[in-house]
């Protein structure tokens, strides 16, 4: 239906799209995702014919869109723009009626079909309830529906939407995309730039990740939305989980630097992210706090490893990250000293886990029991990751330093970026040495503890 071939667009010296090729089947809902400035809007404008590409071809239904007159192309493609200039008080019905412009002749009144299409569009979008109000008076969500109604009245086989949900609250976002899905079910071909990855994953048949002016990846949402690809596209750490209600992927962007090019160095990370990991620890407990621990949690989660964290202050960024990821957390009041019950809980979490990660642990007067708990032999295998020098984290005395150093000598050490690799290393070393040692970590047994 839509065939984009070797499309390149530059504004002045700045190349916005480079050799983009994309074929879209009739009746599919394709979502364009990617960071701001990646070229999504430009790609849509080139497909709609609003923008003349420097090189390349856009054909719709076999016709080069750029050879068509506005009238001809507007009978093939309709566009829901990112923001419509609406600083005038047309009645809602008038705006919807403008969708029939491509079919109207200059001097004749609207045909029966024109009228029917407009009425149909008004009803279908529920806009008929306020059809006689001024477009200036309706809310943002209603306005978006009016523009959708205009598109439905235009009745083109291809519909392009540029951020149709950007300015809407959550119920209107869902409403809008439900409506678009219905259009797709009717056989229309839809391409939409959607910045909300979760919504895109939920509604689109296929996702296309656009980054730096080219197509990074395309395919079904579950296969396209992996943390490795998202990190590459968005230059940010992200975790992909599954929405328990809809079953579609949920993307959570996390604080912390991305770990770099996922394709080269940390191969095990990239692979685990795509679910190809076959062997590794099932559960890891993280002790520590701050952005280092948060980053560790995100990377573990992205690698498909269950994690728990604690003890951590409720207000700590690591606790918040854990909450977003749905990770078990052992929280305490900020600045409180750790009581026996907390340490018991820590011990239990630790034993349930296959590996314990100590991430930038801060040593205060109250954390001594934590270090003592970790000194226990069954805390192994241990991984220590650090991004802040120990002296800056130590608020107590040299005794704490000694205990911490002893901990380090028993552990595999590394930086937060490589934590998944270190965890696998530590786990492999341990399970090779002690093949039966895992039995006591069985979560079912430990529940009875």
């Amino acid at each position: 239906m839509i065939d984009v071939r070797d499309l390149s667009v530059a504004f002045g010296d700045v190349s916005v799209l480079e050799d983009v090729s994309l074929a879209v089947e009739e009746g599919t809902f394709v979502g364009l995702v990617g960071p701001n400035g990646a070229g999504k809007t430009t790609l849509l404008r080139a497909i709609s014919g609003a923008l003349e590409p420097d090189t390349g071809l856009v054909s719709i239904d076999g016709t080069d869109i750029h050879t068509l007159s506005s009238r001809e192309s507007s009978q093939l493609v309709s566009v829901v723009p990112q923001d419509t200039t609406l600083s005038f008080s047309f009645a809602v019905r008038d705006v919807v009626e403008m969708g029939r412009t491509p079919y109207r002749s200059r001097f004749s009144p609207p045909t029966v079909e024109d009228r029917e299409r407009v009425e149909h569009a008004l009803e279908r979008t529920g806009v008929d309830r306020f059809a006689d109000r001024s477009i200036e008076e309706v809310s943002g969500g209603e306005r978006q529906r009016v523009i959708l109604a205009r598109t439905i009245a235009q009745d083109t086989p291809v519909v392009l939407l540029d951020e149709p949900t950007a300015s809407l609250d959550v119920n209107h976002q869902v409403e809008t995309l439900e409506l678009v899905s219905e259009l797709v079910a009717d056989g229309k071909t839809v391409i939409a730039a959607i910045h909300d990855l979760d919504l895109a994953a939920r509604y689109c048949d296929e996702l296309v990740i656009v980054a730096d002016g080219s197509v990074l990846e395309r395919g079904a949402p579950e296969s396209v939305l992996t943390s490795a690809r998202l990190e590459r596209a968005f230059d940010a750490t992200a975790a992909v989980t599954t929405n328990p209600v809809t079953g579609s992927p949920v993307v959570t962007a996390l604080p912390g630097e991305p770990r770099g090019d996922a394709d080269t160095d940390d191969d095990e990370n990239a692979n685990t992210a795509t679910g190809e990991r076959t062997n590794g620890p099932a559960r890891v407990h993280v002790v520590g706090g701050g952005s280092t621990a948060a980053g560790v949690l995100a990377r573990l989660e992205a690698a498909g490893i269950d994690a728990s964290v604690g003890p951590v202050a409720e207000t700590d960024v690591a606790a918040e990250t854990a909450r977003q990821l749905g990770v078990d957390r052992l929280t305490v009041e900020p600045f409180s000293s750790l009581e026996g019950a907390t340490i018991t809980a820590l011990d239990r979490e630790r034993r349930r886990s296959d590996v314990t990660v100590v991430a930038d642990l801060r040593i205060g007067a109250g954390t001594r029991p934590v270090l003592e708990s970790l000194a226990d032999e069954d805390a192994e295998p241990l991984v220590v990751v650090e991004s802040t020098p120990f002296d800056e984290r130590n608020a107590v005395d040299e005794g704490a330093r000694d205990r911490y150093e002893r901990l380090r000598t028993r552990a595999t050490t590394g930086d937060p970026e490589t934590v998944v690799g270190r965890v696998l290393e530590a786990w492999n070393a341990r399970s090779n040495a002690d093949p039966d040692g895992r039995d006591r970590h069985d979560p079912i047994e430990s529940d009875d503890d």
Partner: protein
């Protein structure tokens, strides 16, 4: 959707209002005439073409005599009206009223188009330099009559149209004419032409007063001949513009949206600009620079009938006609022996405060 019936009703109503104002205006003056007599005299002045007479016309400069066909007219009615009254109404007041109506009709229509075109509430018919161009032509004719032998009105008309096309050409690049560039090019060209006008005024000698009065816009000493020069352009221009009201509506959504809704944006922009410029030029050429009609009248009508050009264009045009007839009736006070007040001064003096009133009430904030 504006039902055709609604548009027709508004247009008819405003036409009746215009006729009533015309009758009232023609009744006023140093010689008071009964409105009934005025109405009869007006009907007596109605003519229809009845034949074609071929005269000759000499091409300026080249001294070529070419055949020039002209229409013969015959009167339709012959009511009994006192001869002097018939002359006052038919030959003195009515041509001036008709010219005021024509110019007001054209300026308000062109203003409506320009405001929609530029999506700018401050746009008026002269925004791309049409009035300045006309002024250059007119003042040049007054200051240096020997240089421009084609007469003041043709010179003003040609100056206006040439300026519009110059601005359009400057703003067009690669087949596209961005509205912002057009606006800025118009401002720059207007400034340049303003300098030319000032220079010519300084050197216009005895013609200075005439030039200043022209620049302020006036309708005194109007003849049926002036109406005949202006009306065909204005009427034809506005009629053709009337065929593009749907495109004007869609263009309000923005050019890219308009393109996606099947409007050939660049071609439509060119047509709208050309037609609005010709209509403005035809008005300005006979009446001088009359400001504020094209700015204020569309705003007022937009408040009343809404932004839909299908109804806004005809109603604005008709209201503009009435507005200028009323203001020119005030301007005619000069006939009572009061000092001369060009109608352009009155339109601005009435229009500006009214516009400010609307502005303060926040009713004129956008299109």
């Amino acid at each position: 959707m504006q039902r055709p019936g609604v548009i027709l009703a508004w247009s008819l109503g405003l036409t009746v209002l215009l006729l009533a104002i015309a009758v009232a205006s023609a009744a006023l003056g140093p010689v008071r005439i009964e409105p009934v007599t005025v109405a009869l005299a007006m009907l007596n002045a109605v003519v229809i073409p009845s034949g074609v007479e071929t005269g000759t016309w000499t091409v300026p400069l080249l001294e070529w005599a070419v055949p020039r066909p002209s229409l013969e007219y015959s009167r339709v009615f012959a009511f009994e009206v006192q001869r002097s009254h018939q002359t006052i109404v038919g030959d003195i007041r009515l041509p001036r009223i008709a010219l005021a109506a024509t110019v007001g009709f054209g300026l308000a229509a062109a203003g409506t188009v320009m405001q929609g075109f530029f999506r700018n509430p401050l746009a008026d018919p002269s925004i791309i330099g049409v009035s300045s161009g006309a002024a250059v032509g007119a003042v040049a004719t007054i200051a240096f009559p020997a240089l421009i032998p084609i007469g003041l009105r043709p010179a003003a008309f040609v100056g206006a149209v040439l300026t519009a096309f110059l601005v359009y050409a400057i703003a067009t690049e690669g087949g596209r004419t961005p509205v912002a560039t057009l606006l800025l090019a118009g401002v720059a060209v207007q400034a340049f032409l303003g300098a030319m006008i000032s220079y010519m005024l300084v050197h216009s000698g005895e013609g200075l007063r005439q030039a200043v009065v022209w620049l302020m816009g006036h309708l005194s000493n109007s003849t049926w001949n002036d109406v005949g020069l202006s009306l065909p352009f204005v009427l034809a221009g506005v009629l053709v513009l009337g065929a593009f009201t749907r495109e004007m509506n869609v263009l309000l959504l923005g050019e890219e949206d308009a393109h996606h809704l099947g409007v050939d944006v660049e071609r439509t922009k060119f047509l709208l600009l050309a037609l609005a410029s010709v209509v403005t030029a035809a008005g300005v050429a006979v009446a001088g620079v009359i400001g504020f009609v094209g700015l204020v009248v569309p705003h007022i009508m937009r408040l009343i009938v809404g932004p839909d050009h299908r109804i806004l264009l005809p109603t604005s045009a008709l209201a503009g006609a009435s507005f200028l007839v009323v203001t020119d009736t005030v301007a005619r006070a000069e006939l009572y022996g009061m000092p001369i007040v060009p109608v352009g001064i009155i339109t601005a003096a009435l229009g500006a405060p009214f516009f400010l009133f609307l502005l303060k009430r926040q009713e004129v904030h956008a299109l």
